[in-house]
Amino acid sequence: MKKVVLLLTAVSIVFTSMAGGPDFQQVMGKTLAGYADCKTIEDYHNLANKFERIANVEKDEWLPLYYHAHCYILMSFMEESDAVKKDEYLDVAETSIDKIMTMKPDESEVFALKAFMLTARLVVDPMTRGQEYSFLSGNAVGTALSLNSENPRAKYISISNEIGAAQFFGNDISRFCDQAKELLEKWDDYKPASTIHPNWGKYLVSGIVDTCN
């Protein structure tokens, strides 16, 4: 009897692993590692495609869509001169963000990403969009921080927006530099919910700190 139970257990383990395919966590982890190899817009595009494929299977997961949008925002920042393309990339990002908003209406990270996207919109044409989009991005950051006051990405976008505006208007940025330094020092204190939850931004903050010095 014992043997039969053992045998059945073993068989069921084997079949379960076969039927379930590679684990979601595992695939996400592997795909996230792909960020390290991304250098060009095409690289990010390919990575975004991977996240899209995962999102198409895992209809209830918001993280694949999150990274999909994130890749497209980075693509917009990387595009050098074609304003129409920049906006097209952001249109894709916005579609994914809107989808997540219906799945996770109270997620601080999503609002932070939305703010990031809106800042990217502003960057496309600061002269005409400056006023409207700094307001919209600021609003999204505000919501992100109200949902989680510790969210380091929301803090980063807030500081980066403030510096952008201050530079545009020729104002002093040292106050924001201090904030960036503090954020960088305490960056690792913030623990993401899991290994596949958003954890990006430290490098960007250290970039700000470098330019401040």
Binding site: K3, L6, L7, A10, V11, V14, M18, G21, P22, V27, E42, H45, N46, N49, K50, E52, R53, I54, N56, V57, S81, D82, A83, V84, D87, E88, D91, V92, D125, M127, T128, G130, Q131, E132, S134, F135, L136, G138, A165, F168, F169, G170, N171
Partner: protein, 728 residues
């Protein structure tokens, strides 16, 4: 280890081997192209329901393996293209496919009809102008029509200031705000003094300036329509203060849930300015005006927006003009104008994809002017009601239809005690209109718009039907051609209708061919057109210079070429546009003895608008250069009518906007920097003097240069907003 456990281990190992055998992998390779066989890099290729897939490389090639077996669906996704699906039998044998993707239809990205239309809007789509471009154009001085005069197809008529489009008189251009008509969109003026648009350009977030061939939704304009769309719902409470060399203004905005109200008050008085800066006119009372406006925004339902706007202004001034008809050689003119304009519109979606646009506008204009020899009064009341419905019959066909009602009451009185004249005349007209139009897309690349407009006027007791058709074809990503044809009708001008109600509509037929190339931050546009005028109003002047014998026997034509080039790329932080217009036009209308080149047309028009952003100085500097070849004027001493040439019109304007603080902008501008002599022909006496000669006085602008300095302060809770889009 017991034997039984050993056995289990063997079974498990065996099972694992078996699953490995079962999970044979299939290699899938191929090339993704569009329907023209161009490789498509970055397409997402995958097996539906699995993580298995790849992206195509620069040559469109891809390859990946899958452990799935049996029947599966392969999907190819690419943004802007229809999803490609193919059933595959996965057996372990290599699969090779060549998916050809079809561009998906997207009305937002599809080709636009560009014939005749200059659009300025905030939409993300590539447009020729942004609303900010209008207000930062040097020399426009915050006047929408002033900025439009730097676009091709317009003539600068310095003594008028109004928009003259493609050989058309200024009254052939109509202004619409949020879809409904605005009567008297310009300030009142004395003879031969330039006017300005009444409306503040900062009110508008979208402008379409059509120089011909426009939609059947708009009528009562032989040449051109200027369509202005007011701003949407504001984002935050704010308070604006403007301090200018010519006056001051305040405006406040208060938000509530899904709605907002803005109130503004402006007071202008040119006395201090005109005492300091040299003036050509002999002012008795410098221009002074008051303006108050209130606007409301309220979102309704799911996506409806109600907009209401009410404005009142009063302006007065008085000056002495040289006048060959006056025994003293001088006529005194006093202008007293009151204007009230109200506009309400509602835009929203109904059930089943129907959207509804309704609007009502009313205009009241009262002139109480006094001349040395008598008093002149004019009064206009106008109402326009409009309802328009639109729907997508299918993805590629959009229809729009609606009805309009126009009411107009116009009266004039002239009282001269000295000459014992007491004249009063008035007329009242009602017009009903129906229009329908369809946009039919064959693909992203080809669109045709067909429409028609029917009008009936109870005053003229006449009706008309105006067909319109236009198409656009995109040859590739960058270039497109667009053509337009249409018939356009307009009531004769009020000053003619007041004498005669037996007149007919005036008519113009437009033929337009447009070519446009749009590359990253560079636009080239060329347009040729032919315009045929029929039934223009003609009359004779009696011995007392009274117009008599009005009829519709006039005619005319205009043809020409308009070129527009804009480049935001070549010069870092710089942006410029160059326009050139050539026009050949003649007409026989009003009291012309025969067909002649009208006095408002200049053959060659050139303009250069340059803007440069100086980051370190937080400043934008602007430069506008304009040249118009000499126009004709009539010298009654000569036998030939309208045969004398004026000096050409030349100007160079400069402006400077400086972001002093995040919420404080300082703005300065000067027109005609080099001081070019500007003279707009001569004003002749109505009767010859004792020697049989008609005496004359030159027509000149009010000042050779206009200087302006202003400071604009915006207060918000956060202190971040500014009047950046309030420059000028």
């Amino acid at each position: 280890m017991s034997r039984s456990i050993k056995r289990i281990v063997i079974i498990i190992v065996g099972l694992i081997c078996l699953t490995e055998l079962m999970a044979q992998s299939t290699l899938i390779t191929g090339v993704v192209t569009d329907l023209k066989n161009n490789p498509m890099p970055g397409a997402n290729i995958y097996i539906e329901g699995t993580y298995d897939g790849a992206s195509s490389d620069d040559d469109g090639k891809f390859s990946f393996t899958t452990t799935e077996t049996g029947t599966h669906i392969l999907i190819v996704d690419y943004i802007g293209f229809e999803t490609y699906k193919k059933k595959l039998e996965l057996t372990g044998e290599e699969v090779y496919i060549e998916p050809g993707l079809k561009e998906s239809f997207n009305q937002l990205k599809a080709v636009n009809i560009t014939a005749g239309a200059f659009e300025a809007s905030e939409t993300k789509k590539a447009v020729i102008l942004k609303p900010l471009d209008i207000v930062t154009t040097a020399g426009a001085l915050g006047d929408v029509s002033g900025a439009m005069q730097t676009l091709p197809g317009t003539s600068t008529v310095g003594e008028s200031g109004r928009l003259f489009v493609r050989g058309g008189h200024s009254n052939e251009t109509q202004t619409y705000i949020d879809g409904t008509l605005v009567h008297e969109p310009y300030t009142s003026s004395a003879p031969n003094t330039a006017v300005r648009g009444r409306f503040n350009p900062f009110m508008f977030s979208g402008t379409v300036f059509s120089t011909g061939g426009y939609s059947a939704e708009y009528g009562q304009a032989l040449s051109s329509v200027l369509l202005l769309k007011t701003n949407g719902l504001q984002q935050e409470d704010q308070f604006d203060i403007s301090l200018m060399t010519i006056g001051t203004g305040v405006a406040g905005t208060k938000l509530w849930k899904r709605g907002a109200v803005t109130a503004s008050f402006d007071y202008m008085n040119l006395t201090p300015y005109m005492l300091l800066a040299p003036q050509n006119f002999d002012w008795i009372k410098h221009p002074e005006s008051y303006n108050g406006a209130i606007s409301l925004r309220q979102k309704t339902g799911k996506n409806g927006l109600l907009k209401t706007y009410l404005t009142y202004d009063k302006s007065i001034f008085s000056l002495n003009q040289e006048d060959p008809d006056s025994p003293t050689g001088i006529t005194n003119i006093k202008i007293d104008n009151q204007y009230i304009y109200f506009n309400t519109s509602w835009l929203g979606e109904l059930n089943n994809n129907w959207s509804l646009k309704t609007g009502i506008s009313t205009t009241g204009n009262i002139d109480n002017n006094a001349f040395t020899f008598g008093d002149y009064g004019g009064k206009l009341q106008g109402v326009n009601l409009k309802i328009a419905l639109s729907n997508h019959l299918s993805e590629k066909i959009k229809i729009r239809f609606g009805a309009e009602y126009f009411f107009k009451k116009y009266s004039e009185r002239y009282d001269s005690e000295q000459h014992s004249i007491h004249n009063y005349q008035e007329f009242e007209s009602n017009m009903i209109v129906g229009f329908a139009e369809a946009d039919i897309y064959a693909s992203n690349k080809f669109v045709t718009r067909v429409g028609g407009r029917y009008e009936y006027s109870d005053f003229l007791k006449k009706h008309n039907f105006a067909p319109r058709i236009s198409t656009a074809y995109k040859m590739n990503n960058k270039s497109q051609v667009s053509v337009a044809y249409g018939i356009f009708f307009q009531d004769p001008a009020n000053e003619h209708l007041i004498y005669d109600n037996k007149l007919n509509f005036e008519r113009a037929d437009h033929f337009i061919l447009n070519y446009q190339v749009l590359k990253k931050d560079r636009i080239f546009r060329a347009e040729i057109y032919y315009k045929d005028y029929h039934k223009l109003v003609k009359y004779q002047l009696s011995d007392h210079l009274e117009p008599t014998g009005h009829n519709n026997s006039g005619s005319g034509y205009a043809y020409g070429l308009d070129i527009f080039w804009r480049d935001k790329k070549t010069i870092r932080n710089g942006d410029y546009w160059i326009t050139y217009s050539y026009i050949d036009t003649k007409r026989n209308f009003r009291d012309y003895p025969w067909e002649a080149i009208p006095g408002f047309a200049s053959k060659h028009n050139f303009s250069l608008v340059y803007k440069h952003w100086l980051h370190k100085l937080r400043s934008q500097i602007g430069l506008t250069m304009m040249y118009s070849s000499p126009r004709y004027y009539n010298d009654p001493n000569k036998e030939k009518f309208n045969s004398e040439l004026m000096t050409p019109y030349r100007t160079i304007n400069l402006n400077w906007s400086f972001l002093f603080r995040q919420n404080v902008i300082i703005y300065a501008s000067v027109t005609n920097v080099p001081g070019f002599k500007q003279e707009y022909g001569y004003n002749y006496g109505s009767f010859p003097n004792s020697e049989g000669v008609y005496e004359r006085v030159p027509v000149v602008p009010g000042a050779n240069r206009f200087y302006f300095i202003g400071c604009f302060i915006t207060l918000t809770r956060k202190g971040e907003a500014n009047q950046l889009d309030k420059l000028e």
